[in-house]
C-alpha cells in the first residue's frame, strides 16, 4: 500500500475501523435480537443459540459443497437460503421437542439448551472435524471499495445492510402484524395475553424460528467474514451476543441494536488503538461499568 500523508491515513484507518466495527455489530445484532426476543417472551435464556448459528453456517456450507454445477453467485445465494431454512427448522424443532414440554420450568429449559449446545458442537466436530472448512463467497465480497481513502472490504457493507434489513423487517413485523402484537404484549405480560383468549404458545415457536433464521444469517455472514465455517464460532460469538443483550436490556429490539453497534465499535477501536486482544476485554469492562452505573434499571428489566 502506498504511503499516505499521516493525517489522511489516520482518517482512513478510523473509517475502516468504524465500518468493520459496524459489520461486527451487525453480526452481534443478528444473534442478540433472537436471544433477546426469546428471553423477553418466554423467559428462556437460550444457550443453544450458538448452535443455531453453527447449524445454519454448516447447512449453507454443505449445500455449497453439493451445488458444484452452479456458478458462484447463484450457488452462494442458494446455499445461504438453505442455511437460513435449516436454521429456522432446527430452531422450531428445538422449541417443539425440547422447550415446550418443560413449559414454565425455566431452569430446566436453560439446562436443556446447555446440553443441546454441547451436543450439537460435538456432533459437528464428529461429522466434519475440528478444523475450519473453507466457505466460498463471490469474489466481489473479498474485494475492497475505497471510501475517503479507506479500503473497505465489501463483505462489511453486506453485513451492515443485512442487519439493517433484518432490523427494519423485524420492526415492521412486530408493529404491523397480529403475531407481532402478540409478541410485544407477551414480552410485557404473558399471562394477560392468555387472559385475552390468545394461545400465546403459538407465538413461541415463531420467535424461535425467527431467532433461528437471524442466527443462521449471522452464521452465513461470519462464514463470509472469516472465509470459513468452524464448529467453535457459535459459542464464541454467543458470549458477546449475551453481553450485547445484557447491556441493551432484554426484550428490547431497539436497545439490542444500539448496544450491538456500541459493542462492535468499542471492540474494534480498542483492538487497534490500545492493543490487539484488548477489544474483547474492554467489552467486558463496558459491561461492568453499565452494571455498576444502573444495576437497578437493568435488573428491573431482567426480572
Amino acid at each position: 500500500m502506498p504511503a499516505l500523508p499521516v493525517p489522511e491515513r489516520k482518517m482512513s484507518t478510523l473509517i475502516l475501523l468504524t465500518i468493520t466495527g459496524l459489520g461486527l455489530g451487525a453480526m452481534y445484532f443478528l444473534i442478540a435480537s433472537g436471544l433477546s426476543l426469546i428471553y423477553g417472551l418466554m423467559g428462556v435464556l437460550n444457550f443453544a443459540h450458538g448452535a443455531f448459528l453453527t447449524v445454519g453456517a454448516y447447512g449453507a456450507w454443505f449445500a455449497e459443497s453439493k451445488l458444484t454445477a452452479v456458478s458462484v453467485l447463484p450457488r452462494f445465494l442458494l446455499a445461504a437460503l438453505v442455511g437460513l431454512a435449516v436454521g429456522a427448522v432446527f430452531a422450531a424443532l428445538v422449541e417443539l421437542v425440547l422447550i415446550r414440554p418443560l413449559y414454565k420450568r425455566h431452569i430446566e429449559q436453560v439446562l436443556v439448551t446447555v446440553g443441546l449446545a454441547l451436543a450439537v458442537s460435538a456432533l459437528v466436530v464428529a461429522i466434519w472435524g475440528n478444523d475450519a472448512r473453507p466457505f466460498v463467497a463471490p469474489s466481489w465480497l473479498g474485494e475492497t471499495t475505497s471510501v475517503a481513502g479507506a479500503h473497505i472490504p465489501n463483505d462489511r457493507w453486506v453485513e451492515i445492510a443485512t442487519a439493517v434489513v433484518v432490523l427494519v423487517a423485524l420492526n415492521a413485523f412486530l408493529r404491523r402484524t397480529r403475531y407481532g402484537l402478540i409478541i410485544r404484549a407477551g414480552v410485557e405480560n404473558r399471562a394477560m395475553v392468555t387472559a385475552l383468549g390468545i394461545d400465546v404458545r403459538r407465538a413461541f415457536m415463531l420467535v424461535f424460528a425467527i431467532g433461528g433464521v437471524a442466527a443462521a444469517i449471522a452464521g452465513v455472514l461470519s462464514g463470509v467474514y472469516f472465509g470459513t465455517v468452524d464448529p467453535a464460532r457459535g459459542t464464541s460469538l454467543l458470549i458477546f451476543a449475551f453481553i450485547v443483550v445484557v447491556i441493551g436490556g432484554l426484550g428490547s429490539l431497539r436497545g439490542t441494536a444500539v448496544s450491538a453497534v456500541v459493542v462492535g465499535l468499542v471492540q474494534q477501536y480498542a483492538n487497534y488503538y490500545a492493543s490487539s486482544g484488548l477489544g474483547d476485554l474492554s467489552v467486558v469492562l463496558l459491561l461492568g461499568i453499565v452494571l455498576l452505573a444502573r444495576p437497578g434499571g437493568l435488573s428491573a428489566k431482567l426480572a
Binding site: 402484537l181 410485557e188 405480560n189 387472559a195 385475552l196
Partner: protein, 230 residues
C-alpha cells in the same frame, strides 16, 4: 333462574399456603354478583382460579360445561371476560393496539366501547403506559367488552380511583350488567349497593354467606362481622 357459572369445592395452594379451601357458589344468569370479603381472604385468587391463571382443584361449570381443566385462553374463548386487579394494560402498546389484541372471533363491538368510553377514541394512538389510572381502567374494561361474553369477571375496578371516577365506573358497570352477567370483586360497598343483586362473602378461603345484596347491606352488624367495615 339458572346458574351461568357454577363453582364447587374449589381449592388453590400457593406455595405452602392453602388459599382457597373448598369454595362453592353459583353465579345466576344476568345481573351483578359481588364477591366480598376482607383483604386477603382469596377473592382475587378465586377469580384467577376461575380463569385458570393459578393451579386449582375442584369443579367449575360454565353454562353446564366443565371448564376447570381448560387452559386460560380456551376459557376466555368460551365466553369468560376478565378485567384483572391493577388493570394490567400493556403499557408499551397504544390504546388501539390494546383493543386490537383483545379482538376475538365475531364482530368486535367498537361502537359499544366508544359509546361508553368516548375518550378512548381520542387517545387511540397514545401509549397505554402514559394514561392515568382511570383511563387505564377504561382500557381494561373496554378490552373485555369488545367481545360478547357469557360472564365477565371484574376485579376491584374502583381501586385507587378518585371519587368522581368511582361513580363513573359504577355507571359503566350498571350498563354492562344489562348486556352480560358480571362477577364483581369490590371493596367499595357504595358501588356494591348500587350495582349488585347478589353477594357471596368469603372468609379465610371459604364461603361464609350467600344471599341478596340488599339483605346483607341492610344488616350493619353482619356487614361489620363479615367485612370488617361499618
Amino acid at each position: 333462574m339458572t346458574a351461568i357459572l357454577s363453582v364447587s369445592d374449589l381449592h388453590v395452594h400457593l406455595g405452602e399456603s392453602h388459599i382457597l379451601q373448598g369454595v362453592s357458589f353459583d353465579v345466576p344468569d344476568g345481573g351483578v354478583t359481588a364477591l366480598l370479603g376482607r383483604n386477603g381472604v382469596g377473592k382475587t385468587t378465586t377469580l384467577r382460579a376461575l380463569m385458570g391463571l393459578v393451579d386449582r382443584r375442584g369443579r367449575v361449570e360454565l353454562a353446564g360445561e366443565s371448564i376447570q381443566a381448560a387452559a386460560t385462553y380456551r376459557i376466555v374463548q368460551r365466553g369468560v371476560g376478565y378485567v384483572p386487579e391493577d388493570r394490567d394494560v400493556f403499557a408499551g402498546l397504544t390504546v388501539a393496539e390494546n383493543l386490537r389484541l383483545a379482538e376475538r372471533d365475531g364482530e368486535p363491538r367498537y361502537e359499544l366501547v366508544y359509546e361508553l368510553f368516548p375518550e378512548l377514541r381520542q387517545r387511540a394512538k397514545q401509549r397505554a403506559g402514559t394514561l392515568s389510572g382511570g383511563q387505564q381502567q377504561m382500557v381494561a374494561i373496554a378490552r373485555a367488552l369488545l367481545n360478547e361474553n357469557r360472564v365477565l369477571l371484574v376485579d376491584e375496578p374502583t381501586k385507587g380511583l378518585a371519587p368522581l371516577l368511582v361513580t363513573e365506573v359504577a355507571r359503566v358497570l350498571e350498563r354492562v350488567s344489562e348486556l352480560t352477567t358480571v362477577l364483581l370483586v369490590e371493596q367499595n360497598l357504595g358501588v356494591v349497593a348500587r350495582v349488585a343483586r347478589d353477594v357471596v362473602v368469603l372468609d379465610t378461603g371459604r364461603v361464609v354467606h350467600i344471599g341478596p345484596a340488599k339483605e346483607l347491606l341492610a344488616d350493619t352488624s353482619m356487614v361489620n362481622r363479615m367485612l370488617g367495615v361499618a
